[in-house]
């Protein structure tokens, strides 16, 4: 039997506001425990929430960027449950009236384009963190993160493969980064993802029993976890078994999913409208004001790269996947006026040498890469030497000019210097000279090769060609 995979993703994006969603406390990461707190985010008796307008603005931005409907009246609701990292005993979230609904994004996997629907996005507050003591059976509560604004983005169950899930996740990530409303750091938890996944026989309308996957803190983990879960569910179904609806945690060390041991599966959160917050009213003028501030988004930027820089679609697509990459490209391309060359450099050398690290950690600045490309174009160094120079730049962070100068890697373009060597090579190889003159013009590359050997690759190839042609013609 053939199965179809059905996946829906729930993304929690921490919004990059200066202050928390319902109080003035800082959202900065890494402060001493409980130092970024006040009566409101501590949930002290008598304290009341006041909505941070910036959070609404960011949610509207994301809604507009995904072609969604912005609900002119939306409302906060309380999600009631007990946990030590939740000081009020409820999370202030949105329930039946979220701020954003009915959006979509386009993804591309193996050259195939598909549209993934976005059911809804809603604003909510993050919870705190529990710190468990290594030795004693004691836990500590850090409420610095409590009240950090989150945008929960819920997709339709439109995703049909782990690859598509990864592509969708990257797309949402890219849009958030382009809008500059989330720093998108999956390791630090500012961009988190849970997945619902089920299988059904091809052709069947009804959805199969789903499991929920959590704890996938990298793009790679999301894909691996979903691939594992597809296999696991398929094996069970093939053997005639049934899928248990449960929450599973991805274990990246063992590369498998593990049951969370269903704690109260049917949790009743007793949602009801939060009486401390009046409904959020959004007028058209505000929406238009925000629309006017939207930056160029990945799709538009891709099209511009194709037109303006004459890049192939493949290059444009890859480079615009992330705002950082696209910005880097544009800066480098402007520095040397060689967009296609820059694109090649980025997609081969740069990607390889980054070894999966963030572009922001790269020691080679975009302008420096531009200069390097420029030095090849102007003949200061050869393409081959440039790769050596690039490696040194990655290691030391020095500019290309410095590296070339320090290691004396510049091309020898001094005509009289090269002419002496050219004449010596001609004198040392009488047989080849005779053959060349007899019509074996392919031997030119042999002569140039000899010259390169003697100059450790630093001879200007164009000049070398010219000199040999001139000397051998005599």
């Amino acid at each position: 039997m053939k199965f179809e995979t059905v996946i829906g993703l729930e993304i929690h994006a921490q919004l990059k506001t200066e202050s928390k969603i319902f109080c003035g406390c800082s959202t900065k990461f890494g402060a001493p425990p409980n130092s970024h707190t006040c009566p409101v985010c501590l949930g002290l008796p008598g304290s009341l929430p006041v909505l941070n307008k910036k959070v609404v603005e960011f949610a509207i931005k994301m809604g507009l960027a995904t072609g969604s409907d912005i609900n002119r009246i939306n409302q906060f609701a309380r999600k009631n449950y007990f946990y030590p990292d939740l000081p009020k005993g409820y999370q202030t979230s949105q329930f039946d009236l979220p701020i954003v609904e009915h959006g979509e994004v386009e993804i591309e996997v193996d050259g195939k384009k598909r549209v993934i629907g976005i059911t809804r996005m809603h604003m909510e507050e993050d919870a705190g963190k529990l710190i468990h003591d290594d030795r004693e059976p004691v836990s500590y509560v850090d409420l610095n993160r409590t009240g950090t604004p989150l945008l929960e983005i819920v997709s339709e169950p439109d995703i049909r493969s782990p690859e598509e899930a990864a592509a969708y996740l990257r797309k949402i990530h890219a849009i958030l980064r382009y809008l500059d409303i989330c720093d998108g750091n999956m390791q630090e938890g500012s961009f988190r993802c849970d997945a619902n996944i089920s299988l059904r026989p091809v052709g069947q309308e009804k959805l199969g029993t789903r499991t929920e996957l959590k704890n996938m803190n990298s793009f790679r983990n999301v894909q691996s976890a979903l691939e594992y879960e597809v296999r696991r569910q398929r094996d069970i179904l093939m053997e005639g078994g049934t899928i248990v609806q449960e929450t599973l945690l991805w274990n990246p060390d063992r590369n498998c999913t593990e049951s969370m041991r269903s704690k109260d599966d049917a949790h009743d959160y007793r949602y009801f409208p939060c009486p401390d917050l009046v409904p959020v009213r959004i007028d058209d003028a505000w929406i238009e004001e925000i629309r006017a501030t939207l930056p160029e988004l990945p799709e538009a930027r891709k099209l511009r790269f194709i037109q303006e820089y004459e890049l192939p679609e493949h290059d444009a697509s890859l480079l615009t996947n992330s705002r950082e990459l696209a910005d880097y490209f544009e800066t480098a391309a402007k520095a040397c006026n060689q967009p296609k060359k820059v694109s090649n450099w980025m997609m081969t050398e740069l990607m390889r040498e980054l070894k999966g690290e963030e572009l922001s950690t790269c020691k080679v600045g975009a302008e420096q890469l531009g200069s390097l490309v420029n030095m090849v174009e102007t003949g200061t160094i050869s393409g081959k030497i440039a790769k050596t120079v690039f490696l040194e730049m990655m290691a030391s962070g020095k500019g290309p000019e410095t590296v070339v100068e320090e290691q004396n890697l510049g091309q020898v373009s001094n005509e009289s210097e090269l002419l002496t060597i050219v004449r010596r090579i001609i004198a040392d190889n009488p047989g080849q000279v005779t053959d060349f003159k007899g019509g074996k013009t392919k031997l030119m590359s042999y002569f140039v090769g000899q010259l390169m050997q003697k100059t450790k690759g630093q001879a200007n190839p164009a000049l070398a060609n010219k000199l040999f042609t001139q000397e051998l013609a005599g």
Binding site: V50, G89, R270, Y271, F272
Partner: protein, 486 residues
């Protein structure tokens, strides 16, 4: 006359004239507390030292002639208003040792006026009750007749003002918790329009119904207190952004041209004949003063108790979830797991009435019941508001009893929560509709127990309430009457 007997308006005159100092006034109130509170049991905490320091501060400002209206006036606060550095218990074991790191907005405002804060007064636990008997620490008694309830939940506020321990107090009103004790103790109590007074720092019972308001000995003082505490507060999203009027401007004689509505549903079964007689007399007094009396109808009155006890308990079940023993308040230490800690802490930290209401509220919000209970109640709430809006097309204020009966003996209804809930029938609709209401002393029963008269007005029409209340007070000529307690 002893300084403690003065109203705010009287005291302010003497303070301004220099014939009385805030220290003398404060000292006088503290002595009165010392003398009678052993019987009245209104105060949970008296901050004598701090109060005298504040009084000295006020005297300095008074000497400069730059005093604000409440400068140097001693007040008591219901113990659910957060006071920086002063324990705020909400009448509960759960918060027995809770010291807020901040002041409620109203407390800040009173301090800004130079008022003297004498201490915190008793209340029903988390404001849930009509007699203050659910207070975990002490039960205030009616200064007019010891052994009788002072009302609730702001029973300590009403008792402290009626017993002349202080000229005014701040309470909170979720379903009548200011107006009902004011009525039972023979003083004035106002529940302002929802959104007029900031709730920031008021420990929540039911957020969409709670409102802070004053309890005073006469209508003029009530207007003075309202001037001090009203106004938009950026810290409370439900507070309304608008100019606050000078409420004392409505303290004028004459109600010619005003229409006073008599809602027929408020005079039905269960109304004590003595209470009815007092209200009827009040109506005549207003008619004589020139008001037009019209009969109106509030047809959904019968549903108010049911709607109220669903919405109030639903909100309470969520508002009180934060008392979990984790970072402040009471924690049961004899436990071995997190779940056990929650259960034991909440089982032992809360009293019976609070637990009863948390259970009702949790039930009303539960999956499968939400639509039938919470949601339906919210819909009926809108209809109740519509009733009021229609009534206020026909009249400026509504006149009615506050409580169906005068005060009863402590313990008399303590085992019958339903009877207690039903006694709230005349006050809770104002909270559901968000409109203002005021209780004005109307007379006494044959047993010498006070009986109040309630006036209710349209949203933000406190001015109408003050005008009619003041004329009622003048016409009834009850002032000054003092309980015999010494």
């Amino acid at each position: 006359m002893n300084p403690y007997e003065l109203t705010i308006a009287e005291a302010t005159k003497q303070l301004a004239a220099g014939s009385l100092s805030s220290r003398e006034l404060t000292q006088s109130c503290l002595e009165r507390i010392e003398a009678v509170d052993i019987k009245v049991k209104a105060f949970l905490v008296v901050n004598a030292e701090q109060a005298l320091l504040q009084a000295d501060e006020a005297d300095k400002i008074l000497a400069c002639g730059e005093a604000k209206p409440l400068c140097g006036i001693p007040l008591s606060l219901k113990d659910l208003l957060c006071t920086k550095g002063v324990v705020t218990t909400c009448g509960s074991r759960m918060l027995e040792n809770f010291i807020p790191p901040y002041d409620a907005t109203v407390v800040e405002k009173l301090k800004g006026q130079g008022a003297v804060l004498l201490g915190k007064v008793a209340m029903d636990e988390f404001a849930m009750g009509s007699t203050s008997e659910s207070c975990a620490f002490r039960v205030p008694e009616n200064p007019w007749k010891l052994g009788f309830v002072s009302g609730g939940s702001s029973g300590g506020s009403a008792a402290s003002v009626a017993a002349l321990e202080c000229p005014a107090s701040l309470g909170s009103d979720t379903g009548g918790s200011i107006r009902q004790p004011a009525s039972l103790c023979g003083i004035v109590g106002m529940k302002p329009t929802y959104g007029l007074v900031s709730r920031y720092g008021l420990v929540a019972f039911a957020s969409s119904l709670d409102q802070i308001g004053p309890l005073t000995r006469d209508v003029t003082d009530c207007a003075l207190m309202m001037n001090a505490i009203s106004g938009y507060d950026a810290k409370d999203s439900t507070s309304v952004r608008q100019e606050t009027p000078d409420f004392t401007a409505s303290i004028i004689e004459g109600v010619q041209g005003m229409r006073v509505g008599v809602p027929r549903e408020y005079f039905g079964e269960g109304l004590d004949p003595e209470v009815k007689a007092v209200v009827t007399h009040g109506i005549e007094v207003l008619r004589d003063a020139g008001a037009e009396i019209v009969e109106v109808s509030l047809p959904r009155t019968d549903y108010c108790v049911a709607v109220y006890y669903l919405i109030a308990t639903a909100e309470a079940s969520s508002n009180l979830a934060r008392y979990d023993g984790v970072s402040y308040g009471f924690r049961d230490q004899e436990v071995h797991s997190l779940m056990e800690m929650y259960k034991e802490t909440r089982s032992h930290g809360f009293g019976a009435e609070v637990k009863r209401r948390i259970l009702i509220g949790t039930y009303a919000l539960s999956a499968g019941y939400y639509d039938a209970y919470y949601k339906k109640a919210s819909q009926v709430r809108t209809l109740i508001l519509n009733d009021f809006n229609r009534a206020f097309e026909q009249c400026d204020v509504l006149i009615s009893p506050v409580v169906p009966t005068p005060a009863w003996k402590i313990g008399e209804k303590a085992d019958n929560p339903l009877a207690m809930y039903l006694s709230d029938v005349l006050t809770i609709s104002a909270n559901l509709a968000g409109i203002p209401g005021i209780s004005v002393p109307g007379g006494f029963s044959r047993d010498g127990l006070p009986i109040g008269i309630q006036l209710q007005g349209a949203h933000f029409r406190e001015d109408s309430l003050f005008k009619v209340a003041y004329n009622l007070e003048r016409g009834l000529k009850l002032l000054p009457q003092r309980p015999g307690i010494t």
